[in-house]
């Protein structure tokens, strides 16, 4: 018993620095992953299902929209009762969600979830 205690006292490991080192290496891994992700543009293309799911969740979280009425094929102004400014707002929110910049001419055409899903799915930089 006494010997065990003596040995234990000698091989005490500084827990704090270990934990910190662990954290640091994890951070490094994370940033490495981000770097790889940043350099790749085509290998991890979004699937249609993922695009659809994220588009719908953006539209559903829009304050004036009743989430239960949102389907993959609704017209923003005719079906959801939104106006043209809301339409622009939704397209801007989609830009943020998928880290895109949609030119004005294209953005004006996107007036339904169907067109939004199609546009984003076919966009090479959507992430």
């Amino acid at each position: 018993m006494a010997m065990r205690a003596a040995i234990l006292r000698h091989i005490k490991v500084p827990v704090r620095s270990q934990a910190l080192a662990g954290l640091r290496s994890r951070e490094w891994n994370l940033s490495g992953g981000a770097l790889v992700r940043f350099m790749s543009s085509h290998d991890e293309h979004l699937t249609k299902e993922e695009v659809m799911e994220r588009v719908l969740s953006v539209v559903k979280s829009f304050p004036k929209v009743d989430p239960s009425t949102v389907t993959p094929d609704v017209h923003f102004q005719k079906d959801l009762g939104l106006d043209s400014l809301d339409n622009v707002e939704i397209v801007m929110a989609l830009e943020e969600e998928f880290k895109l910049e949609i030119p004005d001419l294209e953005a004006d055409k996107i007036d339904s979830t169907r067109l939004a899903i199609e546009y984003i799915y076919n966009h090479p930089m959507a992430g």
Partner: protein, 102 residues
Amino acid sequence: MASAAAKAPSRSEVFSLFRSLLRTARDFSDYNMREYMKRRTIDAFRSNGGLSDPQSVSAAYADGKLQLEVAKRQAIVYSLYAPKVKSVMELKRLKSSFLFME
């Protein structure tokens, strides 16, 4: 200035200004400024939505243009004094790891 005030902006010009203002709002480094400018832009366009008289439409448009220039400058100034920590409102994804640490 006189010619700009005389001609009412087209629909697409108005939307373009609306988009530019919302895009500039994203450029602020400070969460509160970002959200304020977004709110302010949307509220202003909504409250001016009923304007029909060309004179007041073009006046509102010209004012929006000026505000856009101000906002662009301010986004740069704010970036020089960016907050060192993020607002707690921006930490949605970190919430679970915070709970874990406790």
